[in-house]
């Protein structure tokens, strides 16, 4: 009787020892983070660094504006806002004003001429809202009497973005895809225009507009 109990105990030990060695399953845990993501690129999906060359601004008769455009692609996975900021005009070879006017940031109309949100992987085709001051095409403003036609508080100019200023906002842009996807962005056309006048002579002038997209 005593021997039988010992045998049973020994058998249990062997069984548990055997089971403890077995490791017939394992786990793999995959974790991931989708961060908020926003991008501005040129139309080749590369870093945006566009130059608008207005050329030589020689005054003439009539009201033909000298203009240029830049197209940018915006992508985001949540609601966004686009801001713009222009640096002060930089001149080289500036002559004496001699009582006259020199060209200024306020002589350059600046607006968003169009937004194309027609891509198949655009999450929201509507709802992209241009701040009213910049919601126009400065190339189409009528000139009167050969003077700068942009009306303060009505027509946005570069003088309105000397500090970081929101010009556009909207809902999520990209349904999916990455920066090389050809249909998950909105195409924004920015326009600049000015009227050549008898401004103080210079060899050249320039300003840099920095665009920034961020979360609303």
């Amino acid at each position: 009787m005593k021997t039988g109990k010992l045998f049973l105990f020994g058998a249990l030990v062997l069984m548990f020892a055997g089971a403890a060695q077995a490791q017939t399953s394992g786990t793999i845990t995959i974790t991931g983070t989708d961060p908020e993501a926003f991008s501005i690129t040129n139309t080749s999906d590369a870093t945006l660094s566009a130059t608008i060359i207005l050329g030589t601004l020689t005054p003439a008769t009539g009201g033909t504006l000298t203009s240029g455009t830049a197209q940018i692609r915006l992508r985001s996975n949540k609601a966004y806002q686009l801001t713009a900021q222009a640096t002060a005009l930089s001149f080289t070879g500036a002559g004496a004003a001699d009582g006259g006017a020199s060209i200024a940031l306020s002589d350059f109309g600046f607006g968003i001429a169009s937004i194309d949100a027609s891509g198949a992987n655009v999450a929201n085709a509507t709802g992209h809202t241009v701040v009213s001051l910049f919601n126009y095409d400065p190339r189409s403003v009528s000139v009167t009497n050969g003077l700068t036609p942009f009306v303060p508080s009505t027509h946005g100019t570069l003088d309105d973005i000397t500090t970081s200023t929101q010009i556009l906002s909207g809902p999520r842009i990209s349904a999916q895809g990455n920066i090389s996807t050809d249909n998950n962005f909105i195409l924004v056309t920015l326009a600049v225009a000015t009227l050549p006048q008898y401004f103080t002579p210079n060899s050249s002038f320039s300003t840099t507009v920095t665009l920034t997209i961020a979360s609303q």
Partner: protein
């Protein structure tokens, strides 16, 4: 019963408990090459009927912002394949046949993603994803002959090393997090 339990083993590459963790940060870029992570593990089997490895998975995505008309990353965006079966250990019985199940015999990290979108077509089309394991728990992904005379995990030369690759293409998915819990089991028989 104890004998059957002892006939197979699945361990990490240090012969310890297999409990691997891998992570992805899904920041969209311009590349059309998916981001890949690999996990290697060892399997042992001394059962004359051979073995098979089965996989099951659960998937949870937790958005941190509204989807707002866009896509949230899904289990079908994560490709999974067996990219290596190393049978070179000296006690592994040879010649032998180890078969990767159809759909898992590919490298999801090497699939090109045209137009920056998820490139995986699913198991039925030869490119399995985690969604295939969520939808069909206990899917056999690998099977083969008896591996060695012993399945003892302390033996340095009686195992096959299997490498599984997971990959995804970072995109403008809804901000948030996701988690996949994948369980691998080794059992007797083909």
């Amino acid at each position: 019963m104890p004998g059957r339990l002892c006939a197979q083993n699945i361990t990490d590459t240090s012969n310890g408990t297999m409990s691997a963790v891998i992570s992805f940060t899904v920041t969209p870029g311009t590349s059309n090459t998916p981001v890949a992570r690999t996990v290697s593990f060892r399997i042992r089997c001394a059962d004359a009927s051979g073995y098979h490895v089965a996989a099951s998975a659960s998937y949870v995505a937790v958005p941190g912002a509204p989807a707002d008309g866009g896509a949230t990353i899904a289990a079908s965006d994560i490709g999974v394949g067996i990219t290596s079966v190393d049978t070179s250990s000296s006690q592994v019985i040879k010649p032998r046949t180890d078969t990767i199940a159809y759909g898992f015999a590919y490298d999801p990290g090497a699939v090109s993603a045209p137009n920056g979108l998820t490139p995986y077509a699913g198991r039925a089309a030869g490119q399995a994803t985690v969604a295939d394991l969520v939808g069909s728990p206990g899917t056999t992904i690998l099977s083969g002959d008896r591996i060695a005379a012993s399945e003892n995990p302390s033996d340095p030369d009686n195992y096959i090393t299997v490498t599984v690759t997971f990959a995804l293409l970072p995109q403008y998915f809804t901000p948030g997090t996701f988690t996949v819990a994948l369980t691998l089991s080794i059992m007797n028989g083909p």
